[in-house]
């Protein structure tokens, strides 16, 4: 699977030049090899220590701030990877994606704060988050995934709105047709204020060798760890039966069904796995920021932001998702003055990328030539064109026999 194509290799050319010549699909393949990913994650884990060192030995006091930015990067990279599973692999347009992240933050906040006076141990909280996001994913997915693709988009968009509506309105007991459900004091979500005072994970703050670990750095490591885990899982899935089935459904649903793929089951699997991944990221975020907010945790703008991260890097590309997350997290932090223009710039970039290069930077999924495939435009490389011309390995005697039997008139010139 990982054998690099050697056809274009020139003797003695520079490795970087060879890398450049691989093209986007090749870059993606190279960047997803363990030889790149493992050092990358080790390096990523060491960055805050380097920042700490710089801070301790110089007058620069921005180290903590940078760790915060990087933690945000890692969080968005996790989300982009999870979105890649449902959109890039399975081809399902989930526009309510960020709602699952939001559900994760609230699910954790409810069992780790004074909102409803529950303080679960970490393992139980993780379980609660997984079960709740999964339940929501099934409630949306089971009806919506039986429908055609466009409807999934609108149902998930509507779902995101419902969730926002519920979160904002459930700071008081619901009243239905004049009947109040629950006691007057019922306040599940804190309304527009959100839930505050969420407890962080109960983790040791001192680690051997490292000494005191600041909050930001700890959560940066947790995000990076979850990112590494997600990418590992995604790569494993992509190269085994489940992932192949997802991509096959994306490519050609009918052919996938004809190969025995239960399309509904695999769609639901992709949809809910991605939702649970987003939910866990939400949980980490709630513990990281000590709160859960309706905005931006349920904002459709946030969904669009994760979309542009994924699409800029390339649909289906995991290194692309990381690149996209960095590209759209760091600048807004550094350009706080222009924060008003954030979504304007993001939307223009999204449109530009889609129109000019829908495959993204490292895209493996071309979403352009669907109609022309197998039709007018033949994507013949010079190799396959040459291969066309060469006669098949059938003996002339065989040929003569068949031609004779079929009664087709073939002149000897044509045969050779």
């Amino acid at each position: 699977m990982s054998a690099p194509p050697s056809t274009f290799e020139e003797e003695g050319s520079h490795p970087l030049k060879r890398f450049w010549e691989l093209g986007p699909a090749g870059w993606d393949r190279t960047l997803t090899s363990p030889f790149v990913l493992i050092p990358f994650f080790i390096l990523a884990a060491l960055v805050p220590l380097a920042l700490q060192f710089v801070e301790d030995n110089s007058a620069w006091i921005g180290a903590q701030f940078w760790t915060l930015i990087l933690a945000n990067c890692a969080m968005f990279a996790c989300l982009a990877v999870a979105l890649n599973l449902v959109v890039g692999y399975a081809g399902l347009l989930n526009l309510g994606f960020i709602a699952f992240f939001g559900i994760g933050t609230y699910a954790y906040a409810l069992v780790a704060s004074d909102q409803i006076h529950q303080h679960y141990p970490l393992w139980a909280a993780v379980l609660v988050v997984i079960v709740i996001t999964l339940a929501f994913a099934l409630v949306v997915g089971v009806p919506a995934l039986r429908l055609r693709g466009d409807y999934l988009a609108i149902v998930t968009l509507g779902f995101g709105l419902i969730m926002r509506n519920l979160i904002i309105e459930l700071d008081r007991p619901p009243v239905l047709a004049g009947h109040q459900i629950g006691p007057d004091s019922l306040n599940l979500t804190g309304g527009t204020n959100g839930i505050h005072g969420v407890a962080p994970f109960n983790l040791p703050t001192r680690l051997p060798l490292l000494g005191e670990v600041p909050h930001y750095r700890m959560y940066y490591w947790i995000f990076v760890g979850f990112l590494a885990l997600s990418i590992y899982a995604m790569l494993r899935w992509r190269h085994t039966r489940t992932g192949r089935a997802w991509v096959a459904i994306r490519e050609d649903e009918l052919a996938a069904r004809a190969m025995g793929v239960n399309t509904f089951k695999y769609r639901l699997l992709a949809f809910s796995t991605s939702a649970v991944m987003a939910g866990i990221v939400g949980m980490i975020d709630a513990a990281f920021l000590f709160n859960a907010f309706p905005s931006p945790n349920f904002d459709v703008q946030t969904t669009v932001m994760v979309f542009i991260m994924m699409i800029l890097g390339g649909l289906g590309s995991l290194p692309g998702a990381i690149l996209g997350a960095i590209a759209f997290t760091v600048p807004p932090f550094l350009l706080q003055k222009f924060v008003l223009y954030k979504y304007l710039v993001i939307s223009v970039l999204l449109i530009a990328v889609m129109v000019l290069r829908p495959e993204g930077l490292l895209g493996t999924v071309s979403i352009r030539p669907r109609r022309t495939f197998g039709g007018t435009l033949e994507l013949l490389s010079t190799e396959s064109a040459a291969e066309e011309g060469e006669p098949p390995p059938v003996s002339t005697a065989d040929a003569a026999k068949i031609e004779a039997a079929s009664g087709e008139i073939v002149t000897p010139e044509e045969k050779t």
Binding site: Y232, M259, G260, P392, A399
Partner: protein, 262 residues
């Protein structure tokens, strides 16, 4: 109709689209190890029959039995699981997947490996993946010199004929009892047609039962054990290639009434 070892048994198969009856009380048997061709003019309902067998369409009435199992009413993926694999008239390989991955998709229904297994390198998953990879080798055996060098290339970069070969290899990897080939030689040049003829025979010699739709009559005459002729959704003739060839109703269906009576 012979009753020895019928793999596929279709009785009274009917499918209507609104007012149009595309397939009308169609009966056919395909026996173990046979190559049966389904021919007929354009729009006769041949591909509809295939779509009904493979579960892409639901019949209005009738029965389709694969050995002992009734296929009518089952979803397409269950039918594949029971042992029917097919190719499509307009080739449907997965363009962004490599040739190898395309063929691996064929093994999907008979291998068992889940998401947890693949993440944890669970032994049963490893075994399943290894079996699937081994099946790729077996499946491309018949296309060795054609597909072997292109195994890691995405399917969209293949030539037309190689896409066709990939699609057939994918169907073979599904280890079907019954293989449905929808115009395997369409768009092929004479050399490739000869190759396809040899291929179909080779597949039969491996023990497969083959039901195919084909327009190229010389090829049909050459390879078929039996030929079934359809016109306007109705079976109008069935028999050995030679018998069918001289059947006046068949000539009429193909050439029109005047030519037949002349």
């Amino acid at each position: 109709m012979s009753d020895r070892n019928a793999v596929l048994q279709i009785r009274g198969l009917t499918r209507r689209f609104g007012g149009l009856t595309a397939v009308d009380h169609f009966d056919v048997d395909v026996n173990q190890g046979e190559i049966v061709s389904l021919v007929g003019p354009n729009g006769a309902g041949k591909t509809t029959v295939f779509n009904l067998i493979s579960g892409v369409l639901k019949p209005t009435s009738g029965s389709i039995r694969l050995q002992d199992a009734e296929l009518v009413g089952r979803p397409a993926h269950r039918i594949t699981h029971l042992g029917v694999a097919r190719t499509f008239q307009n080739i449907r390989v997965f363009p962004q997947l490599t040739v190898r991955e395309n063929i691996l998709l064929g093994t999907h229904h008979w291998t068992r490996s889940g998401m947890l297994g693949s993440v944890t390198f669970w032994p049963s998953t490893i075994r399943a993946e290894r079996a699937a990879q081994a099946e790729v080798d077996t499946a491309i055996d018949l296309f060795r010199e054609r597909l072997q060098p292109r195994l890691e290339d995405p399917a969209f970069a293949l030539s037309y004929a190689n896409r066709r070969r990939t699609e057939i290899a994918r169907a073979l990897a599904a280890r079907p009892k019954l293989l449905l080939l929808d115009e395997p030689a369409a768009g092929m040049n004479p050399y490739e047609r000869i190759e396809i003829a040899g291929l179909i025979r080779a597949m039969r010699d491996r023990g497969l039962t083959i039901f195919l739709i084909e327009h190229h009559m010389p090829l049909v005459m050459e390879i078929s054990d039996r030929v079934v002729v359809m016109d306007h959704g109705v079976k109008i003739a069935e028999g050995l290639p030679k018998e069918v060839h001289s059947n006046p109703r068949v000539v009429e269906a193909y050439l029109g009434r005047r030519a037949a009576s002349a």
